[in-house]
Amino acid sequence: MNAPDHSGEHLLDGTIDPPVTVEGTLDSARLYRDQVMSIMPGLLVHRGEDILHCNEGLAHLLGYLAPDDVLVLPSVMRLVPDDALFSERQAYDQCLSGLTRADVRRTKRRRADNSVQWFDQVLEPIDWGGKPAVMEMLAQVRPHIGFTELPHQWQRLQAAIDAMPNGVLMLDREGRMEGLNSELLRLWDYPPGLFPPGTPMDVMLRYNHQRGDYGDCTEDDKISEIRKLFQVKGVINSERRVPSGRVLDIRTAPRADGGIVVTHVDITERKRIEDELREAKERAESILEELRDTQQQLIVQEKMASLGQLTAGIAHELKNPLNFVNNFAELTSELLDELLSLLGPLDNRLDQDAQAEAKDLVSSLHSNLRKIADHGRRADNIVKSMLAHSRGGGGEWQRTDVNPLVEEALALAYHAVRAQDREFNTSFIRHYDPNVGEVKIVPPDISRVLVNLFTNSFYAVRKRQQAEADPNYHPTLTIATSDCGDKIEIRVRDNGVGMSQAVIAKLFTPFFTTKPTGEGTGLGLSLSYDIVVHQHRGRFDVASVENDHAEFTITLPRAIPAVSLGERRKP
């Protein structure tokens, strides 16, 4: 048995001949039953995916033989055409949570034979077995009251535009609605029957405004803006996101008689796929970028590692000969003394001039040996710094409270400089940002960097003080920490002698120093740079004006990417 024709019109128009046989009366009864069935709404109760109840009317409306054929469906969504899945799921969810009032909607359903048909629908939240469920009633689409009076041609046109996959709205030259199709009602979530033919376009726009489609803007402004769009001759494309969340591609096509046909295409799915593709592309690009960065870092690390190996190698090789130089210089000095005490009694065998000359030679010898020892020690210090440079602190990564670390390094550096020069004095301005908190670092290494910076600053202010001899000059060190979200900053500023651009350019070069020969190894800032930039993936910035100030800024990231937990170069 075929399901009754959904239009059902010939059953209702009463043009059945009276039966003359029993079969005829039975046919008549069957027809009557079919008639009743066709006007009965289809009833469906469901919760989530599960279909809980289905009446005969619904089975018939959707072309199934019996309710059981609907009840065995794996999901209620099987009855919804693919392009309406999004909106129906939304409508069901809202109904189940009790958000929806029982309004009539125009919707489409997939029939047993996979054809798609428009229905008018009422959704109502109900209680089913003690738990909430959705009751869905489907009825044949009724011709609009306004349309029933229209000539047959119009009805055929209506059927034609209803069959179109896009929303269609036809306006006459005065901007009154001439017709619209079911898809338009669905796309805009308009209840069926809202805009009978002849309704001015403005009413639709005002309706949209009142339900909040246009946000907070003034009603008249928005309406005149949209009206203007319609007046432009030619095809206008505009993408709009409507309140239901759908994205519509709206196109306007003017007709020869001055009217307009507006088509609405639901491009939500396309947009979603486009967005996903774009996101995937962006993700891939950002991963690629990260990989490139990592690769770059690895190259730099590799270079630095081989430089470190070279440094360590040189230092190791120099160490032993240097030890001999220092040892023999010291010993020679001792031996010379012993020799002199042995030769002492022979002194009076020499004449006055020879004695004076011998004394002079001996004192030169002593002084030379002292110089050999001094320079040997200097070389020894350089070798030790080089080894420290290449070996790495061996410290571990720890979450560390930064402000106390800075303060501790400051105290350490200040004591060291005061131990050398009791006269030295400077004032401190501290700006510690409590939001800096803890950062994952290698504490002894960062401490070393800070001590280095403070020591340099003390040196710079002391030098300026000595050079200017101005009683109004007050050596000042400003130490500031600040929280910059995913980074922290430590700034050390002094009002010392400052540096020229030429000095700044060479500042981080190993062995570059502005201190007098013998006072600095030229490895301090090079090592600091290595610790901050390569090990901690931070930044090291310098700004200075000669005889005014110098400012060093260390920026450390709060989180270091796992792939590149920094390491100091190791031999």
Partner: protein, 131 residues
Amino acid sequence: MTLGILVVDDEPDIEDLFRQRFRAELRSGQVAFHFAASAEQALEALDVGLTPETFLVLSDINMPGMSGLDLLQRLRAQTPEVPVIMVTAYGDIENRRRALDNGATNLVTKPVDFTELKKLVNSIIADKQAA
């Protein structure tokens, strides 16, 4: 009694350095030095027997051929009664640990501080004589 100290180092100048540093002790006949340029030579010399008898061994770690640590292990097995002082490089924590694990009597860090070394040698001599 003259005490024999065997110094093992691949640097030939070590000999002059030790002879000059310990010149007072050498002159007074307190100590006598034997030198070996490698761990192999040291083992050979100990096998043959040295006069005066070796009382203390002082060895570098990094040497071509057999390393000072291997020598230490052999000496611990062959002549456990002879103390061995190892000379380790500045900051070489790994070798210091291994030297102590292998039974070195003591460690001296390069560059060698001879004042300290003399004290150490004297204390070992004192221990030995007391025993």
